[in-house]
C-alpha cells in the first residue's frame, strides 16, 4: 500500500463527470462523478443495484449516458463512444461473467476481436511475454473449458493487456475466487498499478475488506448517487458500510454481517451465537448422517470420495469448499437428487433443497408463483391439481414470508432477485421438512435481501430443522454455521469454526486438531455401524 507517487500534474487516468443514466423512469445514475488518479487502484463500492456496474459500463462505452462526460488520460471521449474506442484508448474491462469462448484455446481467445490474420505462434508468444512481464502465466494452447475459474480470469486480463490496456476495470473480480486466489489477484492488481504511472485499476466490489486492502481511493455509490469518495485511509469498514447502506438503515442483522468478518480477521474466538452451542446439539437426533459416502455426478465422474458427517436437528452445518471440490454433487446426493455409489447415507424422506442457480434450477420463470409452488414435488403428484387451493396457499405464503410480489398470479420473472430467493426458500420450508439443504443461498443478493435469507435460515434452525449450508463465500459460512465442514477434493473434514483453519482446510491443508468425522466432534452421539475411523 505504497503512497501514490503520481505527480499532481498528471491527468486522471479516467474521469467521469456529471454522468446521468436513466432506464425508463428509473434513474440508475444521477450526476455521478468519478476520478481515477493515474497509478492508483480505485475501489467502487455499493450494494447490488447501486449503479457500480452501470457507471463502469458507461465508462467502457457499453452504455451511452443521458448526460455527462468521459475523459481518458486527459482526452475527452466524444460520443459515439464504443468499447472498441475505449480499448483503442487503453481502457479494458473484465466482466463478472467472463466473455470467453470455452471451446477455444487461450491464444485464440486472446486473438479474438483483433483484426488481420491470426498467427497462432505470434499470439502464443504474446501470451508468454505477458506472462513473463506481469506474472499472469497461462499455457497459450490450453482450452478454456479445461481451465479453473481463476485461470479463466487471468485469461480475461491477459486479453486486455494484449491490446495494450493501461486502465483496467474489474467487475467483482474476487467473487469467483478462493481466499488465497483472491489475495493473489489483489496483490497482482497492486503491482500492476504501481508498475507504470499510466496504469490504473478500478475494482467494482461489495467486499469492504477487499476495498480497504488494495485501494488507494474509494468511491461509494448508493442508489445511483455518489455518497462518499476519498483516500482509502479516510475510511473504516464501519464508515463504508454506513455509506453503502445509508444513515439509520443499519439493522442489527446487517451490523452483525459487517462486524463478523472483522472479528475473524483478528483471529479472536468467535462470539457465541444466540443459539446454544454448549453441547445440546449432541443430544438432539442426527437427521442427516453420511458414512464414507461416494458420489458420482451424472457424467460418471467421482466427485465425492469420502464424506462422513452428521447434521442434527436444530443446527446449521456450514460446508466450505473451493469451487470444483465436489460440493454440488454432495449436496445433491444428500437432497436425494444423485445416487450414492458407495458408503451409507441416511436421510429422511422430506429433505428440501434450495439450489444456487434459482433461474436454472429452482423456478419456472415464465410461470405464475402458484404454478411454481405446484412445481414442488410435482413428480410425485397424480390426478388433478387443486389450483384454487394452491393459489390460496401461495397467497398466504407471500404474506407470511414477506415476499414482495403482485400476488399469486405474478410471473416469477417479474420478481426481484431477493424476492425470488425468498419465494424459493418459503416454498422449500412450506411443508415443514425435517432437513434443509441450501447452496449459495444469497448469490447475487444485496445486503438487505441477504439478511432476510440468513434470518430465514436461522429461524428454520431454531424451529428444529437440520440445516446444511454451502456457500462459496467463506464469510457467509462462518456467519451462519454452528459447525463447519470443509470439503477438499471430494473428502470431508470437520474443522474448527475459525477463518484461517477453514481457509486452509478448503485448500487441503488441515491441522492435527481438526477431525475427519463429525461423530468425533460429538462424542456422545453413538456412531452408526459401518463408520470408519
Amino acid at each position: 500500500m505504497a503512497a501514490p507517487t503520481a505527480p499532481a500534474e498528471r491527468p486522471a487516468a479516467l474521469a467521469l463527470r456529471g454522468v446521468t443514466k436513466r432506464f425508463g423512469d428509473v434513474v440508475a445514475l444521477d450526476t455521478v462523478a468519478l476520478e481515477v488518479r493515474a497509478g492508483t487502484v480505485h475501489a467502487l463500492l455499493g450494494e447490488n443495484g447501486a449503479g457500480k456496474s452501470t457507471l463502469m459500463r458507461v465508462a467502457f462505452g457499453l452504455l451511452t449516458p443521458d448526460a455527462g462526460s468521459i475523459t481518458l488520460a486527459g482526452v475527452s471521449c466524444s460520443p459515439p463512444f464504443t468499447p472498441r474506442d475505449a480499448m483503442a484508448r487503453g481502457l479494458g474491462m473484465v466482466h463478472q461473467h467472463f466473455s470467453l469462448v470455452a471451446a477455444m484455446t487461450v491464444a485464440e481467445n486472446v486473438a479474438l476481436g483483433a483484426t488481420g490474420r491470426y498467427e497462432a505462434t505470434r499470439v502464443a508468444d504474446t501470451v508468454r511475454a505477458i506472462g513473463e512481464r506481469t506474472g499472469l502465466v497461462l499455457d497459450p494452447a490450453a482450452r478454456i473449458a479445461d481451465l479453473p475459474v481463476s485461470a479463466q480470469q487471468r485469461c480475461e486480463i491477459v486479453k486486455a493487456l494484449a491490446r495494450d490496456v493501461r486502465v483496467l476495470i474489474l467487475d467483482e473480480p474476487t467473487a469467483v475466487l478462493a481466499p488465497d486466489e483472491a489475495q493473489a489477484l489483489l496483490r497482482w492488481v497492486r503491482t500492476f498499478a504501481d508498475a507504470d504511472p499510466s496504469h490504473a485499476v478500478v475494482i467494482i466490489t461489495h467486499k469492504l475488506r477487499d476495498a480497504l486492502a488494495v485501494a488507494d481511493d474509494i468511491t461509494v455509490l448508493r442508489r445511483g448517487v455518489r455518497v462518499a469518495t476519498g483516500p482509502a485511509a479516510q475510511f473504516t469498514e464501519a464508515s463504508l458500510a454506513e455509506a453503502m447502506l445509508g444513515p439509520g438503515e443499519r439493522s442489527a442483522q446487517v451490523d452483525a454481517e459487517v462486524r463478523a468478518p472483522r472479528d475473524r480477521m483478528s483471529a479472536a474466538p468467535h462470539a457465541a451465537t444466540p443459539h446454544a452451542r454448549d453441547g445440546t446439539d449432541t443430544t438432539s437426533a442426527a437427521v442427516l448422517s453420511a458414512h464414507d459416502v461416494v458420489v458420482r455426478d451424472t457424467d460418471g465422474i467421482t466427485r465425492v470420495r469420502n464424506a462422513s458427517f452428521t447434521v442434527h436437528a436444530g443446527e446449521i452445518v456450514g460446508l466450505a469448499a473451493v469451487e470444483g471440490s465436489g460440493q454440488h454433487a454432495l449436496l445433491r446426493a444428500v437432497a436425494g437428487l444423485l445416487p450414492v455409489t458407495g458408503g451409507q447415507l441416511q436421510t429422511p424422506a422430506d429433505v428440501a433443497f434450495v439450489p444456487e442457480d434459482r433461474h436454472r434450477d429452482a423456478l419456472l420463470l415464465d410461470a405464475s408463483l402458484t404454478e411454481n409452488l405446484a412445481l414442488r414435488d410435482a413428480g410425485r403428484r397424480s390426478g388433478h391439481l387443486p389450483w384454487r387451493a394452491l393459489a390460496d396457499r401461495t397467497t398466504s405464503l407471500l404474506t407470511a414470508r414477506d415476499v414482495r410480489a403482485a400476488g399469486a398470479t405474478a410471473i416469477a420473472r417479474t420478481l426481484s432477485g431477493g424476492n425470488q430467493q425468498k419465494f424459493v426458500l418459503a416454498r422449500a420450508l412450506d411443508e415443514a421438512p425435517s432437513a434443509l439443504i441450501v447452496e449459495n443461498p444469497t448469490r447475487g443478493l444485496d445486503f438487505r435481501a441477504t439478511a432476510a435469507v440468513h434470518d430465514a435460515l436461522r429461524a428454520a434452525r431454531d424451529a428444529g430443522l437440520a440445516v446444511l449450508v454451502y456457500s462459496s463465500d467463506l464469510d457467509e459460512v462462518l456467519v451462519l454455521a454452528d459447525r463447519v465442514l470443509a470439503l477438499h477434493d471430494g473428502v470431508v473434514h470437520e474443522v474448527p469454526r475459525e477463518r484461517e483453519a477453514v481457509g486452509r482446510a478448503m485448500l487441503g491443508v488441515w491441522s492435527d486438531a481438526s477431525m475427519t468425522h463429525a461423530d468425533r466432534a460429538t462424542p456422545t452421539h453413538t456412531p452408526s455401524p459401518g463408520a470408519s475411523t
Binding site: 432506464f23 425508463g24 436425494g336 437428487l337 433443497f353 439450489p355 436454472r360 434450477d361 429452482a362 423456478l363 419456472l364 420463470l365 415464465d366 410461470a367 405464475s368 402458484t370 404454478e371 405446484a374 412445481l375 414442488r376 414435488d377 410435482a378 413428480g379 410425485r380 403428484r381 397424480s382 390426478g383 388433478h384 391439481l385 389450483w387 384454487r388 394452491l390 393459489a391 398470479t409 410471473i411 416454498r427
Partner: protein
C-alpha cells in the same frame, strides 16, 4: 400462462380477428406486388373458402381436420420443449399402417376394422416419433434433425409400399386399392365431404387443453418444457420419461391424422396423400401460441387459406405459392409481434 384463471375469450377472439386482418392485408400487398387485381383474387378466395355451405364444409373444414390434428401434435411436443418437425412423416406412417391393416384384415374384422385402423395409425405415428425419441435420449441426436430426416424416410417408405406390398391389384398405379365404403369414416352431413374426423379433432383439442391445465401429468409436461432443470431439481420429475412420453403422444396425434385423412378423404394410400399438412402444422401451432383450442382456430384459418388459394388459382390465375408466402409471412409477423410485446412488458 395462468391456466388456473378463466379462459380469456375476448383476447382469443381479438387475436383471431387480428390474424385474419393481417392475412388479408399481407395478401393484398402481395397481390399488388405481383400485378394481380386484389378485388378479383380476394373474391375468388372468399368464394372458395367460405362462399357456400359446400365450400365451408368440404373445402375449408375438411382441410382443417388434418391441420388441427397435426397442429396439436406439434403444439404438444413444443410445449414439452421438443422440436418435433416430423409430423409429416408420422402422418404418412399412420396412413400407411391404416392401409396395411385394412387391406390385410379389413374384410375379416367387420365393424372393428375402422377403429382398429385408426388405432394402428396412432401406434405407427407414436413408433415413428419413438425412433427420434430414442435417438435423442440414448445418443443425444437433436430431434429437429432426426424428425426432418425421418420425414423423408417415411415419404420414400410410402413410395415403396404403393409400388410393392400395398399396390392396387392391377399393379398399374402407384397407390393402394380404394377402401370400400364400409371402412370409410362416416360423413357428418350428407352432400358434403365433411367427415367425423372433425369431431375427433375437437375432442382431442378440448381434451389436451383440459389435461395440460388441470392434471398433474399435464403440468409436468409444461414444467419440463419450460425448464427441465427446475423440473428435475424442485419437481423431482423424471424428465427423460416425460420427454419420451410426450414425444410418443405427439407422434400418435400425427399418426391419427394420417389414418383419418386416409379413411375420411383420400380412401387410398399414395405418395402425395398429404400436401405438407405436417409442415403447415408448425405454423398452425405457433400462431395458436401452442394453445390446443387456439390450434382449432388457426387450423380453420389455414384450411380456409388453402381452400381459397385453390379457388384463386383456378378463377383468378393467382399461383397457390402466393398463399404459402402469406402463411410464412404470418408466422414471422406473429413471432416479431410476440417478441415486441415481451420486450415492452420487460421494460415496463
Amino acid at each position: 400462462m395462468s391456466v388456473s384463471s378463466q379462459a380469456p375469450w375476448m383476447g382469443a377472439v381479438q387475436r383471431l380477428a387480428l390474424l385474419v386482418g393481417g392475412t388479408v392485408l399481407t395478401l393484398v400487398v402481395l397481390l399488388l406486388l405481383t400485378g394481380h387485381d386484389p378485388a378479383i383474387a380476394l373474391r375468388a378466395l372468399v368464394r372458395g373458402a367460405v362462399g357456400s355451405w359446400y365450400a365451408l364444409t368440404s373445402a375449408t373444414l375438411v382441410r382443417a381436420i388434418p391441420l388441427a390434428l397435426t397442429g396439436l401434435c406439434v403444439a404438444l411436443a413444443f410445449r414439452a420443449g421438443l422440436l418435433n418437425i416430423g409430423a409429416e412423416g408420422q402422418l404418412l406412417m399412420g396412413a400407411a399402417a391404416g392401409t396395411a391393416v385394412l387391406t390385410a384384415l379389413g374384410a375379416s374384422l367387420g365393424a372393428f376394422a375402422l377403429p382398429l385402423a385408426l388405432l394402428s395409425g396412432v401406434i405407427a405415428g407414436a413408433a415413428w416419433a419413438g425412433v427420434a425419441a430414442l435417438l435423442r435420449q440414448r445418443f443425444g441426436v437433436l430431434e429437429v434433425i432426426s424428425t426432418i430426416m425421418l420425414n423423408f424416410v417415411a415419404l420414400y417408405t410410402v413410395g415403396w409400399l404403393v409400388r410393392g406390398p400395398l399396390q392396387e391389384p392391377t399393379g398399374i398405379y402407384p397407390q393402394s386399392a380404394s377402401l370400400p365404403k364400409a371402412v370409410q369414416l362416416p360423413l357428418l352431413w350428407t352432400g358434403t365431404r365433411l367427415h367425423v374426423g372433425l369431431v375427433l379433432a375437437v375432442l382431442f383439442a378440448v381434451g389436451l387443453w383440459w389435461w395440460q391445465g388441470r392434471t398433474a401429468s399435464g403440468f409436468r409436461l409444461r414444467a419440463v418444457g419450460q425448464n427441465p432443470h427446475a423440473a428435475a431439481t424442485i419437481g423431482r420429475i423424471d424428465v427423460a420419461r416425460v420427454s419420451v412420453l410426450a414425444f410418443l403422444a405427439s407422434g400418435a396425434l400425427a399418426g391419427l391424422a394420417g389414418t383419418v385423412e386416409l379413411t375420411g378423404v383420400t380412401f387410398a394410400l399414395y405418395e402425395n396423400l398429404s400436401p405438407g399438412y405436417g409442415y403447415t402444422a408448425i405454423a398452425v401451432a405457433l400462431l395458436a401460441r401452442l394453445h390446443p383450442l387456439g390450434v382449432l382456430g388457426t387450423a380453420v384459418l389455414f384450411g380456409a387459406l388453402q381452400a381459397g388459394g385453390n379457388a384463386m388459382q383456378r378463377d383468378a390465375a393467382v399461383p397457390i405459392a402466393l398463399v404459402n408466402v402469406v402463411e410464412a409471412l404470418l408466422i414471422l409477423l406473429v413471432i416479431a409481434g410476440d417478441r415486441l410485446g415481451a420486450a415492452r412488458r420487460a421494460t415496463a
